[in-house]
Symmetry: C2
DNA sequence: AATATTTTTAAATACTTGTTTAAATCAAAT
DNA sequence: ATTTGATTTAAACAAGTATTTAAAAATATT
């Protein structure tokens, strides 16, 4: 298998199509024929480039998991930022990521149900809270009386929950605004999540930071 | 088709098994043979009592959607409760519901992606925000300067997001506490969500209610 | 230009899976 | 006891689906 321009292009075409279908329909709901159609290629090519549906899925899933989490964890680990700055940056950057890939959270956390054991091996160090700078800063601030004395897992849960909700429950948002066209709906939704950023930040800091 | 004790029992057995499998694996990921095995019955019985996999799924899904949302909306519509009381009661009751059915949110919101149009018909009145008493109370309070001036959709998004997050990302919680046994993990998780209740309530009221 | 290698295709294969059939079992009614 | 109807079962069916095969086409190498 060489790696000239044509190869890259077909392999990329397959991955792009696979990503689109998998993210919307999940592993079980996706037929490789749908992917082949979306990519305008022969089904046998899927097994030529990737060895099976499962291997192709794994490639997509790994990237999706990284896309969903590594950006946020990079910010939470950035030692040049204060606790408050981390929250502001994480919320803004995460929502920007999700605007580009609204299906990401539903896809990842749904598939994760059946693969908890798998990721334990794959992300050995990155996702452990105790080593994250954000947590150290928060615990130190709690000790100083600067921040409210709760367990750091609640901070993450609240932040992450408020960030993800609009995307996970996007169908509910569509339901609330039924009657609108798909384009109008999209504009409204983007407007909503953009406004949501500041509210999430304010709600977190207002509660966590003792004035 | 009579309705004696035996009938009820088998039909219930099927529904119970179907619920368990569907909630964990979704529609596409569920094989009717898995359901039959779980219920210890013949596959043909599924089509005898329910006419198809899809009809059986619809029965399960409708109940799941109601279980996830109608309890909360009943509270948000209870005119005997103040705005603050509604938040307190909704958070507590919702988390209690989810403790019993942790897969509910992932299941419902994932399947909803492919069925937005369907539910529009099924829940015509219940789920419209504008008619909900909670929203009226909040908007009135905003006008009086009692509550912070944000759009009510953000209030729902924050509350719902913080409530659901532990359950949607339960796999992440398991990841954080790897090494523990399944029983220990369950105890820890329940402890976490129980503590989470008060934090969600405090965070919401602390931000929304202007003192 | 000829050969070898990689890429692509159409078709076949083997397996899964939802549904149906037709017979067997069971329960109630006459 | 026999008949009737409902329930259950094993087996067959038909459609769908992931994967493989073997040949063709395209590309690179000599």
């Amino acid at each position: 298998m060489t790696a000239n321009a044509t190869d890259q292009s077909t392999e990329e075409k397959i991955k792009e199509a696979a990503r689109k279908i998998f993210l919307q329909k999940g592993f079980a709901g996706t037929k490789i024929r749908d992917i082949a159609d979306e990519a305008n290629i022969n089904i046998a090519l899927l097994n030529y480039y990737f060895r099976s549906k499962e291997k192709l899925f794994d490639a997509i899933f790994d990237e999706a998991l990284a896309e969903l989490l590594s950006g946020m964890f990079a910010i939470l680990n950035d030692k040049s930022l204060s606790f408050e700055e981390k929250i502001i940056k994480a919320v803004n950057s995460d929502i920007e990521t999700l605007k580009k890939s609204p299906f990401l959270p539903n896809f990842v956390f749904n598939e994760l149900n059946s693969k908890v054991d798998k990721i334990v091996q794959k992300f050995p160090n990155v996702l452990e809270f105790d080593n994250v700078h954000f947590v150290e800063q928060f615990n130190a601030g709690v000790a100083q009386g600067k921040y409210r004395n709760i367990h750091h897992e609640h901070v993450y849960a609240c932040m992450q929950g408020m960030i993800l909700q609009p995307f996970i429950e996007k169908s509910m948002f569509c339901f609330q605004h039924q009657g609108k066209s798909a384009e109008e709906l999209e504009v409204l939704f983007i407007e909503f999540v953009d406004n949501h950023k500041q509210i999430v930040i304010d709600m977190l800091l207002n509660y966590l930071v003792i004035r």
